[in-house]
């Protein structure tokens, strides 16, 4: 099980190394093989999550380590899906995706990876539905953030085609992320109502999720009604992900509430 996780990390690192080697030797194949290494890493990650699920007897989504590993899996999966849908015009984004995956998995290794039994509040099928939806949403919003960060620095005229594709990716990943975030908040509310008799308690995690949701809703409205595209929209996505990160990490460590176990 841990071997699969390490293999996943090695493949993501290899995706970076392949691109670097390709640049050094001026090879055309560098991005294609980088994407292939990402796919191999994703498959190993899938095996790791599946094996952990089997051994724990429950979905591996109950603590920081498990949710981070799942988020990286969703992030890489989202990139590969968008790459496929965009006719491989986003091949060049593979090493950047790999870099984020390597850094995030490296960060995950600082958290306790032991399989622990679930506290009573988490013993529900809603754990799988709610957390997987939210973390996949975060993965899509991370992709939007990555695209936005690169977009801001991509200024050369010869990169116009890339900028166009990237801009589309930033917006589409934002839409997917926002849709999943909406579903995640809703499934969380339904779960809370079935566990505590209240679908909304203004718990810090709930409040910050709502802040994030409203921010992205405003960003989408600004784009659709005020024409905030390209650099302006990229800026919105950069700040939006800061909110996502605070909702994910900041609330857990700085504010206490109903989600303290997460």
């Amino acid at each position: 099980m841990e071997l699969a996780q390490k293999a996943s990390f090695v493949f993501y690192a290899a995706a970076l190394a392949v691109t670097l080697a390709g640049f050094l030797f001026n090879k055309e194949w560098k991005f294609r093989y980088s994407a292939l290494a990402l796919l191999a890493g994703l498959l190993c990650g899938t095996f790791h999550i599946g094996a952990r699920w089997y051994w724990a007897g429950r979905a591996p989504l109950s603590n920081m380590y498990e949710s981070l590993v799942f988020m990286v899996w969703a992030f890489v999966g989202a990139y590969l899906l968008f790459r496929k849908l965009s006719g491989r015009s986003l091949d060049w984004l593979a090493p950047w995706t790999a870099l984020v995956a390597v850094l995030t998995l490296g960060g995950a290794s600082f958290f306790d990876s032991h399989i622990e039994p679930l506290v009573p509040a988490l013993q529900s099928n809603w754990l799988l539905i709610h957390v997987s939806t939210v973390m996949t949403g975060y993965g899509a919003l991370l992709l939007s953030f990555l695209g936005a960060a690169i977009f801001v620095f991509m200024k050369k005229p010869e990169h116009e085609e890339k900028r166009k594709n990237l801009e589309a990716l930033v917006y589409r990943a934002c839409l997917v992320g926002f849709w999943l975030l909406s579903l995640g908040i809703i499934t969380g509310a339904v779960w809370a109502n079935s566990a505590w008799g209240s679908y909304w308690s203004w718990d810090p995690k709930e409040t910050w999720s709502l802040i994030t949701w409203l921010y992205y809703a405003v960003a989408i409205h600004l784009r659709r009604t005020r024409g905030w595209k390209e650099k302006k929209f990229a800026g919105l996505m950069l700040w939006g992900f800061v909110l996502v990160m605070f909702t994910y990490f900041g609330v857990n460590y700085l504010l206490s509430g109903l989600h303290s176990y997460g």
Binding site: V190, W196, G197, S198, T207, W208, L214, V251
Partner: protein, 349 residues
């Protein structure tokens, strides 16, 4: 009329209200909510704490200014939905998602006016026909609830550890060094391997109390866990006692100067559950076992297992709610998700 609808449905108003809502959420998300006045005075000083409470920033989400802001949001989205009715065929997804949010606002209003919520505190064998509402009032129920049994289940059994310390030999340092820690069982010798360390655990007292006839356990609650132990070579007739809650107050050393400290580990809770009987006019209608994530429903009321008292194994805390807003909220959730799916799918294509 159309002019009013146009003003209320304007995107500019949406942006203004959203900015204000974000600010309100941020305030409510950063400042701890619902604390005692003294806590705010400690955090922000006497004047700052006073201002904070005057502006209701200590209870943002139930303050009048926040409710007014929510009402503004509801008006904005109502006007927007009415306006979009005309272009329903062109943008059904946008219409539905706005309708979903509107239903949620409506649900929030219904909850504020009609929902009843509170806590039912019961001990085993006790029957109650009313509960303590969240506003402090006593709320009668159209039935009675009796707690037949309450049980806490653990993933693993409770464990007892004894740590052996010996005096630090370094000059100028009068503290103790940890020699060895072992898990022990009542009725058996502690399996110490370190030379000189050793004792026999005679008995476990879950809630130690010194009665007239000597040490007894008050009940099965783990309020004051203690172990009766016998040190090797000790000629004392009475055993020594180790207290998990007071490791320093009752020091126990053997002839070799080794000090023993008791640690009680209650085990990780798997589930806590109450067996409830529902009665009407003293006649039992049915029985239901509830636990966290599995409530009981009766006559529009839902009863949720919410807490227990580690010091009182007979006590169970049950949340009660009767909330007619759930229908609106869930309809809003459905409309929002269908609307977003419809709108985004068109856009993604």
């Amino acid at each position: 009329m159309m002019k009013l609808i146009n003003t209320l449905s304007s995107v500019r108003l949406f942006f203004i209200l959203s900015a204000l809502m974000l600010a309100a959420f941020l305030i409510g998300g950063v400042i701890p909510q619902g604390e005692a006045p003294e806590a705010y005075q400690e955090m922000f000083g006497r004047i700052g704490g006073g201002w904070l409470m005057n502006l209701r920033l200590n209870n943002v989400f139930s303050s009048y200014w926040f409710l007014a802001l929510m009402a503004g949001g509801a008006l904005n989205i109502t006007a927007c939905t009415v306006k979009q009715w005309k272009v329903l065929k062109l943008r059904p997804g946008v219409f539905l998602s706005h309708l979903g949010v509107l239903l949620m606002f409506l649900g929030g209003g219904v909850q504020g006016i009609f929902s009843v919520r509170g806590t039912l505190a019961l001990e085993t064998g006790q029957t109650k026909g009313e509960f303590a509402g969240n506003d402090g009032t006593s709320v009668p129920m159209p039935f009675e609830v009796s707690l037949k049994n309450f049980q806490v289940r653990y993933w693993d059994q409770e464990k007892h550890f004894i740590h052996a310390y010996k005096k630090c030999g370094e000059p100028g340092h009068d503290g103790d060094d940890l020699l060895e820690s072992v898990e022990v069982e009542p009725g058996k010798d502690a399996p110490f391997k370190a030379a000189g360390a050793g004792l026999t655990v005679l008995k476990f007292y879950p809630n130690f109390h010194l009665g007239e006839s000597g040490p007894v356990t008050m009940d099965e609650s783990r309020q004051n866990p203690a172990l009766a132990v016998k040190l090797p070579g000790s000629k004392a007739v009475k055993p020594g006692y180790l207290f998990a809650n007071y490791p320093e107050a009752h020091e126990l050393r053997d002839a070799a100067g080794i000090r023993y400290v008791y640690e009680y580990n209650p085990g990780m809770i798997k589930q806590f559950e109450s067996r409830l009987a529902f009665l009407e006019g003293g006649v039992e209608k049915f029985e239901k076992l509830i636990n966290v994530n599995s409530p009981a429903k009766y006559k529009g009321y839902r009863l949720y297992q919410s807490g227990y008292d580690p010091k009182n194994p007979r006590f169970s805390s049950i949340q009660i709610s009767r909330d007619p807003s759930v229908l609106f909220i869930y309809a809003g959730f459905a409309a929002l998700m269908i609307g977003l799916t419809w709108a985004f799918w068109k856009e993604m294509k």
